[in-house]
C-alpha cells in the first residue's frame, strides 16, 4: 500500500486543530527533519491514521476516532508550529 501525504488528511487536521495545517511546520522528534505536514507520509485506513517522518520513517502523529471523539498523539513531533492566523 502506497503512502499518501499530509494533503490527504487536510480536512481532518483542520477539524482537530481548528486551522489549516498542511502548511504547519513539523519537526521529527527522532531525526530532527523539518517540513510542512503536507510532506509527511500518511497511512490511512484501518483503525487509525498514522503520520510518519519522510526521512526516518518514525511515527510522528497518530489519529484515532473513538466513539466520535478524535484522539491525537503528537508525541512523535518535537515541534509543531501552528500557522499564523490571517
Amino acid at each position: 500500500m502506497d503512502a499518501l501525504d499530509g494533503n490527504a488528511i487536510g480536512g481532518m487536521l483542520f477539524h482537530v486543530f481548528g486551522v489549516e495545517m498542511t502548511i504547519a511546520q513539523a519537526e521529527c522528534g527522532r531525526c530532527g527533519a523539518r517540513g510542512p505536514l503536507a510532506e509527511c507520509e500518511v497511512y490511512l485506513g484501518g483503525p487509525g491514521v498514522v503520520v510518519r517522518c519522510r526521512v526516518c520513517n518514525s511515527i510522528v502523529m497518530v489519529f484515532v476516532e473513538v466513539r466520535e471523539m478524535m484522539c491525537v498523539d503528537r508525541s512523535g513531533l518535537s515541534e509543531l508550529e501552528l500557522p499564523a492566523s490571517r
Binding site: 500500500m1 502506497d2 499518501l4 501525504d5 480536512g11 477539524h15 489549516e20 502548511i23 503536507a38
Partner: protein, 243 residues
C-alpha cells in the same frame, strides 16, 4: 475571501450534482452546487462524504478542478476495488447529492502573486488540480509562463484533452500510443524532465500530483535537476487502483 478558508469553520455541507461530464471511459467530472460555498483557491480539494441508508459512511478527498470564482467541480477516476469512486462515476445522476467539506489546503495552492514560471507535472487524475491552476492563470490574465507535463496510459485516458490543447502541454503516453504518435512514450525519467522542465535559472515553481510512485520519482528528478526542494509542491493520490 479565499483567505477565510485558512481559519474559520470547516463544516460538512450538502453538494448537489448539477452536471456530469464523462471525460474518459474511467473518469467522470461532476459539477457541484454547494450550499454556502465560500470560494476556493486553485489547488485546494474537498472531502466528499457518502452515507448509506444503513448509516455506513465513506469519505474521500478530491481536488477541485475549477478555478476560483467558478462553481466547485471534481474529477473522479473509477478505481478497481473502490468504495466511493464506482458510485461517483457510475451511479450518480444530476440532482443527486452528498456531503462535502472544504475547500481544504494551504500548501498545494497557487495564486498569481506566487509567480512562476510554473512547471506542473501530473500523473493520471493528478491533472485535476492542474486544471484549476491553469484556468485561474488564464482567467486572471497572469503573465506567468506555465507548462504541464502530463503522463497518461493511452490517449483515450487523457482527461480534459480539448481544453488542455489551449495550454502548453507535453504529453507522455506510457502504455500505448496511437499510430504516428511522435510524443513521449515512456514513464517520466531524468532525461525527459531535463528536456521538458523549466531550467533552474528561471527559478521555477513546480507542482507534482498523481500516484505516489509518480510523485516521488518526479520530485526526486526535479531535485536532481537543481530545483529548490522548497519550490516543489507535491500531492500524492496513492497507487492507482489502490483505494
Amino acid at each position: 475571501m479565499a483567505g477565510a478558508a485558512l481559519l474559520g469553520r470547516l463544516s460538512w455541507r450538502v453538494a448537489t450534482v448539477t452536471a456530469i461530464v464523462d471525460e474518459t471511459p474511467r473518469v467522470r467530472t461532476l459539477e457541484l452546487e454547494v450550499q454556502g460555498w465560500p470560494g476556493h483557491v486553485a489547488g485546494q480539494h474537498v472531502d466528499v462524504r457518502l452515507t448509506a441508508e444503513d448509516g455506513y459512511r465513506a469519505e474521500r478527498a478530491y481536488s477541485l478542478a475549477s478555478a476560483p470564482g467558478e462553481p466547485p467541480v471534481i474529477t473522479v477516476e473509477r478505481l478497481e476495488n473502490g468504495e466511493v469512486s464506482p458510485y461517483l462515476t457510475q451511479d450518480v445522476r444530476p440532482g443527486d447529492a452528498f456531503e462535502v467539506r472544504g475547500p481544504i489546503g494551504g500548501y498545494f495552492v497557487w495564486r498569481p502573486g506566487d509567480g512562476g514560471p510554473l512547471f506542473l507535472a501530473a500523473g493520471g487524475s493528478g491533472v485535476a488540480p492542474m486544471r484549476a491552476i491553469l484556468r485561474h492563470r488564464r482567467n486572471s490574465r497572469s503573465e506567468v509562463r506555465a507548462r504541464l507535463l502530463y503522463s497518461s496510459r493511452t490517449l483515450k485516458d487523457v482527461i480534459y484533452r480539448a481544453e488542455l490543447d489551449e495550454d502548453e502541454v507535453v504529453h507522455t503516453l506510457t502504455r500505448a500510443q496511437p499510430p504516428g504518435w511522435r510524443g513521449y512514450a515512456r514513464r517520466v525519467d531524468a532525461d525527459l524532465l531535463r528536456e521538458v522542465a523549466w531550467p533552474i535559472e528561471d527559478e521555477p515553481l513546480a507542482f507534482v500530483c498523481g500516484p505516489t510512485s509518480f510523485v516521488e520519482s518526479v520530485a526526486a528528478g526535479l531535485v536532481e535537476l537543481g530545483y529548490a526542494p522548497g519550490r516543489i509542491k507535491t500531492e500524492r493520490f496513492g497507487a492507482t487502483g489502490g483505494r
